[in-house]
């Protein structure tokens, strides 16, 4: 909740800036190849993947994600240590340099969709909104593929 409150505050503070069109950076963010896997019911967390490209010439910082599908959406990073043990942890804010693409891909990072409000059904898609430090937002439709999908092509 704290997180939501903060995002709202940032959005409110930046509304005048938005209105004058002086937004720095996030309007140049392009989200491509978004996909997710179908879920079984709502008891387990879901995951979504995508490529986030900064086509502008200023660094942008991704600070949060929202979706009506899940009560809480967060980017998690997977790390695998020398013993081959994999663990995941919130990735925090992600800075994307100009011309850089961040791959939110299996085994690297995923958007963890926690407390699903409805099952993720193959063939549907859901909107996911990415929020940036400058107050800008990018909304992308994430297609839900089969449970055994391995990439945006299925």
């Amino acid at each position: 909740m704290k997180h939501v409150a903060r995002s709202t505050l940032v959005a409110l503070l930046l509304t005048p800036v938005l209105a004058t069109g002086a937004l720095a950076g996030s309007e140049d963010v392009v989200v491509e190849n978004a996909w997710s896997r179908a879920s079984i019911g709502t008891s387990r967390p879901g995951a979504a993947y995508m490529e986030i490209r900064n086509a502008g010439d200023e660094a942008v910082t991704l600070t949060g994600l929202q979706s009506d599908l899940a009560m809480m959406s967060e980017i998690h990073r997977v790390t695998t240590d020398a013993r081959g043990v994999s663990t995941m942890a919130p990735a925090g804010a992600i800075v994307i340099a100009p011309e850089e693409t961040v791959a939110v891909a299996p085994g690297v990072m995923h958007v963890m969709l926690m407390h699903l409000r409805r099952p993720m059904q193959e063939g549907e898609s859901f909107p996911l909104t990415l929020t940036f430090l400058d107050g800008g937002e990018v909304t992308v439709a994430v297609p839900v593929l089969g449970i055994a999908a391995r990439g945006p092509e299925g």
Partner: protein, 198 residues
Amino acid sequence: MTVRTAGRILIGIAAFALVWLLLWADYRAAQVEKGGPGFQAAFELTDHQGMIRTQEDFAGRWMLVFFGFTNCPDVCPTTLAEVAAVMEGLGDDAARVQPLFISVDPERDTPSMLAEFVPRFDARLVGLTGTPEQIDRTADSFHIYYEKVEQAAAPGGYAIGHSSQLFLFGPDGAYVQSWSYGTPVAEILAGLKRQMPS
């Protein structure tokens, strides 16, 4: 026996225990690194249909074994999807390979939880779980690690860090090789075809 003598004996025992513990930890670490020659798949667990299964049930077939938990949103479904693709890619040879998904979350992963999750990826996959003690023993015998990681937003308040390799065992149950998480399916398939005489 004076108090002093008793104290010395106790200190002696403690020192001995410490040395033994250090040696044992060292030995375990070395075994994991080598994969351990002569290391045999050994387990007694319950499958997703509620049947007791041991390595004996799969004797004569190659076993592809990996560990995970059904509340895992990324690594486990990805590995399950990859193993499904490997089975697909094996064609007729798939009949000689048994893929096994072993839960490291005995508290949440009941056989019925596994039943609604594991076979969706490939009908040939068998999910295995057990009591916390059985899972501990299985992890020991496979030389793998797992540990609860607190995660407030996850169901039950925790996620599990775990060994994410895919292990291959021969028809005699002996360890053959492992692939680290993220190895492309084509590479796993090529490795399998090299290992399995046609």
